[in-house]
Structure formats: structure tokens, C-alpha cells
Subunit: 196 residues, 2 copies
């Protein structure tokens, strides 16, 4: 149970679990250790798990037909990650989800999640809330990509997620923001000059 | 009750409502008629309603800092539309939602929706499912924008949503697909030539 406490704490921020409910919830979870560069989701395979990061850093990305890399999401401690389209519909994934560091994950598989909601309907509320947040996050990201300049997107990311920016490889941050690593260096150098 | 039957049918596809539950649900809804070009959501104002289209066609879009128009979503009969980020968090909207035709909507306001879920927790499941679908839809759209050519995106849209493509103004379709009206005409002419 100790190992799962962080996931229980996370859920308790949205719904209140009794001890029995927490125990049942954790009986459906599993702990997974992944090595840096290891994949937990790959295109063509159905994504079986929703993953909570206890420790480490993960990245979801798409490789387009030209071989270009597009980072869709990061997840560090206390974040969830998956290829949600694949997970929700149990269809083949389009994304890779890889470990950027050695990481410790708590995972729940699709069938267990369905069972959890059937037997304990209050989890419907939990998954409704976290899905709404993911949706709003994705919409804001899409609108930001459409309406903001590269530099504005960079500034926004640095302000909102400084701990992620400080931790992930430069090329993943550039590919999240939608520009090249060279362009990212250019923006950073410009900012440094302003500071000096 | 008659007027609300379509919304009840929609909900019943995901959860089973008793007559009492359906009656309570409809007591929280309202019917709204909107004229073509009328707005139901505008930037800076908090989006109060989630709207179901009984009849008509609606469009959600963003105007960027350069005055360019980006269509985010369409909704025709039996679809829901809103600025969900604004609705979910009850914060000022960033989108416009306008009527492309005279339309008939069924609306539920934010507080009523919260009350509905509190008093009838089975609606948690309904809103969880429709949010998951919206999320998957948005993710697929984002991935498609990142990884597919303009022409591939056009083909995909025509295949998936022929009834929307046939009905909405050309400039809104072009702005959904992320290119100019001129480019859309070019693609269409090319397709026509191939057919002849």
C-alpha cells in the first residue's frame, strides 16, 4: 500500500476515498520501473495503461511521415501520461511514450479501470475531472500554437512549467514548442543578452 | 418534455435513464433559438452553457493577434458545442461560438450540470464519456494537423464529415483545415479534374 500512497493522495484531491475504497483501488494498480529511453507505448500497439509518474520524466510524441518528431506531452512527478485516444478506445496507438529518465510509474490497465468504475461509481467523477483537465490543457495548447508567436509560446512554457523546461532535453522542448533546436538556442541567447 | 427528447435520447445512448431521472434532467435544460451569425460564446465572457444542436449548424473559432480566423470545431444536429476550457473552469472564453444557420439548441448551464451530477451521480459517467470522446477527437485533430499534408487533411475531413463539408461556408472549412480559401478551391478543382 505504501508504494501506492501517492496515487491515493492524487485521487483524494478530487474525490474522498474510504480506506476500503483506497484498498480496492490499489489492488488494481501495479508499479512499473522503466529505464531511460524505454518505451511504454508504441504506435500500432494498443495502449493498455494509464500511467502516473511517481518519480522520473516521461514524454509522449509523434513521428510524422517525414520522420519529424513532435512532442505532444511531458509528464513529471504527480502527472499522468498515456496515448489517451488509444487507451480510451482500445485502438492502436499513434504516439510513442518514452522515459526521459529512469522512472517509477503507477499503472492501471484499461479493464481494471472499467471494473473500478463499475464497482465504485465514485471513480466516474475522478476520471471525469481528470479528463476534463486534460481536454482543457490540450485545447489551450492548440490555441496557443495557433495564435501565439514562437517566442510567446516559449515564454509561456517557461513561466508555467519551469521545472519541466529545466529538466528535459533541449530537442524535446523545441519539438513541443514546434520549432528547431537551433531556433530554441537563438531565443535563449537573446534572453540571456537581455539579462546581461 | 417533447422538445427535450433528442437530448434524452443522446444521454440514453451512454447511460440508462429512468423516467424520473429524464424528467429531472430536462427540468434543468432550456431551449434556445439563435439566428444565423448570432454568437452564443464570446472571448472575455465566461461561457455559461454546454449546447446540444437540435437543428442547425454552429462553429467555434479563434481570432489570432493578426486577425486570422481559426475554426476549432463545427457542430451540426446531434453534436455538442461550447468553449469547454471556459465552461469547465468557469473562466473567460477565448473562442467565439457562432451560428452558421438559424439554429435550435438545448442548453444546460454550468451550475445545473454540477447539481445534476451531485444529485444523480450516474450523470458523472455520461459527462466522463463525452469528455473522453471530445478529448480523443481533439488529439486526433492535433496529430492530423502535425503529421498530414493539407491535401490529406482535406481528404480525411471529406471522408469523415461529408455532411458538414457540404453545408458550411468554404472559408470556415478552409480555416478548420488550416489553409486559405484559395488553396481549398485549388484542391477541389484538382479533385474535379481527376473525376472528369
Amino acid at each position: 500500500m505504501q508504494d501506492f500512497q501517492k496515487a491515493i493522495d492524487y485521487v483524494n484531491r478530487h474525490i474522498q476515498l474510504t480506506d476500503e475504497e483506497a484498498a480496492y483501488f490499489t489492488s488494481l494498480l501495479r508499479i512499473t520501473k522503466v529505464k531511460k529511453k524505454q518505451y511504454i507505448v508504441q504506435p500500432e500497439f494498443v495502449c493498455k495503461y494509464r500511467s502516473y509518474v511517481v518519480q522520473g520524466a516521461m514524454r509522449a510524441y509523434l513521428i510524422d511521415n517525414n520522420g519529424q518528431d513532435h512532442t505532444i506531452a511531458f509528464a513529471i512527478e504527480d502527472w499522468w501520461i498515456s496515448d489517451y485516444s488509444s487507451f480510451i478506445f482500445q485502438q492502436p496507438a499513434t504516439l510513442f511514450v518514452e522515459a526521459l529518465e529512469d522512472s517509477l510509474l503507477i499503472q492501471i490497465d484499461y479493464n481494471a479501470e472499467q471494473l473500478l468504475m463499475e464497482t465504485h461509481p465514485k471513480f466516474e467523477k475522478f476520471f471525469r475531472i481528470i479528463t476534463q483537465r486534460s481536454f482543457a490543457f490540450l485545447q489551450q495548447r492548440m490555441l496557443s500554437n495557433l495564435s501565439k508567436s514562437a517566442e510567446e509560446r516559449y515564454d509561456e512554457f517557461m513561466k508555467k512549467y519551469p521545472s519541466i523546461a529545466a529538466r528535459v532535453p533541449q530537442y524535446t522542448l523545441a519539438s513541443y514548442l514546434g520549432f528547431s533546436t537551433e531556433f530554441l538556442s537563438k531565443i535563449r541567447n537573446k534572453k540571456l543578452k537581455k539579462l546581461n
